[in-house]
Symmetry: C2
Subunit: 207 residues, 2 copies
């Protein structure tokens, strides 16, 4: 081991910190020296929370969201509308959807998007389990909340075809102008789509 | 605890990560979700290296640099020139000086700079122990390598006065143009100082 820091322990902490995404070796050194200046319990709380989180969090057997129980708090909440499933790419998207408070149904985390270029086929992500859920749970609506990218559109279309013979309603998140954005800075694809999908003006509608 | 993430364990890891300097709650969440996607040993290596570093690294009793032993590897290295001490503000500055390979003497970490505005007086930093070292170790030269700021200059002057009656030579890092920088972007104070301290041109001198 290179004794650049005169301390293998510091070296090792810097090496581990710089494995985190977006943390280079200079930032890692700054973080390590910061932790060295703090009380011992600060480093213990950080280190132990990381280890416990990784050891004890697993995934909900129903929706594949992170969960400390076999079934996550969203799936086991009786006040949520179990007939509507919002399909998202990853765990972070569940959190993002939850912060809007606009969806009171359940979720389904695919764990990725179909991407032939990256070698991700439909069997690599949780599509089969989604189809099974729709059948078993008698789902009335699924909301496709994937990113409006080629991979997202491909995945949307694949799910749409798989469910063609089911009575479930399939919805897509609206695409249009971002609220608060200037018209001139909106890209032409989004603007074009928002003209095609224009809605009747209604003073009572939420802008 | 707010169950924003449906998981107190994730919540806790995000809270601890966002205590790190420059890491906001969004970045902390991204880091935590990244760790959740990695193998368990990645989170264990990170968590344990942070805890071990904080528990086992202490400070060299001689120069106050970080050290895993009572005396750090720089102080205990017999090939280093023990008659020259480079005085720096903090541990990171020792690492920075070491990377230049231009100093083969010892170090002395003050742990701060005199700053009446921040309530840091000479007795709050390791100046007395520096004076004692100079007396006991029969130091021949101390190199003041503090930042060229008001606090650095104040500290330099304080140390200079404290050592006025010692035969030790006191040097200051050269101030002048940064190598590779355009003259027009050099600030006028630095440029002025580099004119005052101009050196005879010598084709063999390191530029």
């Amino acid at each position: 081991m290179d004794l650049r820091f005169n301390s293998p322990l510091l070296e090792s902490a810097v090496a581990e910190l710089s494995k985190l995404p977006g943390i280079g070796s200079k930032t890692a050194l700054r973080l390590a020296l910061h932790l060295l200046r703090q009380e011992k319990n600060v480093a213990h709380a950080l280190g132990e929370s990381i280890i416990r989180m990784r050891d004890e969090i697993s995934y909900c057997s129903r929706c594949h969201n992170i969960s400390e129980e076999k079934v996550c708090p969203i799936c086991s909440n009786p006040r949520r509308d179990s007939k509507t499933i919002c399909v998202v790419e990853n765990v972070k998207d569940v959190l993002t959807i939850e912060t809007t408070h606009a969806h009171n149904g359940l979720s389904h985390v695919l764990g990725g998007l179909i991407s032939p270029l990256d070698g991700i086929s439909p069997s690599d992500i949780e599509i089969d389990s989604l189809i099974r859920r729709v059948e078993e749970e008698k789902t009335e609506e699924i909301i496709l909340a994937l990113s409006p990218t080629m991979e997202g559109d491909t995945t949307n279309f694949y799910i749409y075809r798989k469910l063609a013979h089911h009575p479930v309603q399939i919805s897509l998140l609206a695409r249009g102008l971002s609220i608060g954005n200037e018209l001139e800075y909106t890209d032409e694809l989004t603007l074009g789509r928002s003209i095609e999908n224009r809605v009747p003006f209604n003073a009572t509608v939420k802008q």
